[in-house]
Symmetry: C2
C-alpha cells in the first residue's frame, strides 16, 4: 500500500518536472518570438498554453486523488500541498509567456524591443531560463544547494529590471510612449516568471529543511 503510494507520489513529481520543462520552452519560445518578431513561434506559444493548462489540471487531479485515497500525514501531506502550489506557479508562468508572445504579435512585423534594450531583455530571459532550470532540478532532486544559485539569479533579475527602467526613463529615450509601456510590462512579466521559480524552490527547500529561505 505505502509502496504504491510512493510510486504515485514519484509519478506526480516526474510530471511536475516535465511540466517545468514545457513551461521553460514556452518562455524561451516567447522570447524568440519577441526578439525576432517571429509570428509562427508567437502563435505556437499562445496555442500551446492549452497544453500547459490541461497538464496542470491532470496533476492537480492526481494530487487530490492521492490526498483522498491515501490520506497522508506530516511530510507526505505537505509534499502534496506543495505540489498543488507549484502547479499553480507553473500555470501562471505559462500565462506570462503568452503575455510576452502577445506583445510580440501585436507589434509585428516590427520587433517590439528597440535595439538599445535587446541585450537587457535577452539577459532577463536568460536569467529566467536559468531560474526555471534551477527550480526544475530542485523539484526533481530536492537539490537544496541549487536554491542558493536561484537567489543569486533573482538578485541579477532585480538588477536587470532596474537597468531596464533606467534606460526607459533616460533623456536619450527616443522611441516614444508605446514601446516604453510595452517594455515596462515585459520587464514585469520576466520578473514575475522569476518570482514563480523562486516560489517553487522555496516550497521544496521548506519541505526538505523545514526552513524558510
Amino acid at each position: 500500500m505505502r509502496d504504491q503510494y510512493y510510486e504515485q507520489l514519484d509519478q506526480i513529481v516526474d510530471e511536475l518536472v516535465q511540466l517545468t520543462g514545457t513551461v521553460r520552452r514556452a518562455v524561451a519560445d516567447a522570447t524568440k518570438a519577441l526578439l525576432e518578431a517571429d509570428g509562427q513561434v508567437a502563435e505556437a506559444v499562445i496555442d500551446g498554453d492549452k497544453v500547459i493548462d490541461e497538464t496542470t489540471e491532470v496533476i492537480e487531479e492526481r494530487a487530490l486523488l492521492l490526498l483522498a485515497t491515501q490520506q497522508p500525514v506530516a511530510t507526505d501531506l505537505r509534499q502534496l500541498v506543495a505540489t498543488l502550489r507549484m502547479v499553480a506557479d507553473l500555470q501562471r508562468m505559462g500565462d506570462l509567456s503568452v503575455h510576452v508572445a502577445k506583445i510580440a504579435r501585436r507589434r509585428m512585423p516590427d520587433v517590439a524591443v528597440p535595439e538599445l534594450l535587446a541585450p537587457t531583455i535577452s539577459s532577463m530571459a536568460q536569467v529566467a531560463d536559468q531560474m526555471i532550470d534551477s527550480a526544475s532540478r530542485i523539484v526533481a532532486n530536492r537539490d537544496v544547494p541549487a536554491a542558493f544559485r536561484l537567489e543569486e539569479d533573482d538578485d541579477e533579475m532585480d538588477r536587470l529590471r532596474k537597468e531596464l527602467f533606467r534606460l526607459l526613463l533616460s533623456d536619450s529615450w527616443e522611441h516614444g510612449i508605446e514601446p516604453a509601456v510595452d517594455l515596462a510590462l515585459l520587464g514585469r512579466y520576466y520578473e514575475r516568471i522569476g518570482d514563480h521559480a523562486v516560489s517553487m524552490a522555496r516550497r521544496v527547500v521548506y519541505l526538505v529543511t523545514g526552513q524558510l529561505t
Copy 2:
C-alpha cells in the same frame, strides 16, 4: 467528531472572509494613497502587508491541520484545497496593493496619476473593490448568483484597462514616459487584483455547482 470538523471548517471560512475584508481595505487605502498622494496611508498599506502574510500562514496551517487530522474526502477535501488556493489569491492581492502604494510613495509629494487619468484609475479601483466584495460574499454564503455580477465587473475592468491604454497612447499625452510607465503598471495591478477575485469566486462556484464558469 464530524461536528467538530464542520465547526473548524466554518471557522476557516470565517477567517478567509475576514482576511478578504482586510485585503479589500488594503486595496482601498492604496488607492487613496495614490490619488491623494497621502504618505501616511501609503506607509500603512506597506507595513500592513505583514499582517496579511501572517494571517495567510495561520489559515494555511489550520487548513493543513484539518487535512491531516480529519482526513476529509470528496467535497470536504476540495473545500480545504480551495481554501489553500484562495488564501494564496488574497496574499497576492495584498502584494499588489503594496505595489500601488509604492508607486504612490515614489512620486510624492506629486500625485502619480495625472488628472486626465484619475477618473479611469478611480473607476478601476472601484470595480476592484466591488469584485473583492462579491468574492467575499461568494465565499461567505456560497452565493453563486454573485458570481455573475463578478463576471460583469471583470468585463468592465477590461474596458477600463483598454480606455487607460488608449489615453496613455493618444497623441495628446503630454506627461512623458515615467507617468506613462507608472500608469501602465498601475492598470496591470488593478486588473490582476480583479483576476484574483474572479479566481476565488470560480473555486467556490466549482465547489457548489461542479461547473467551471
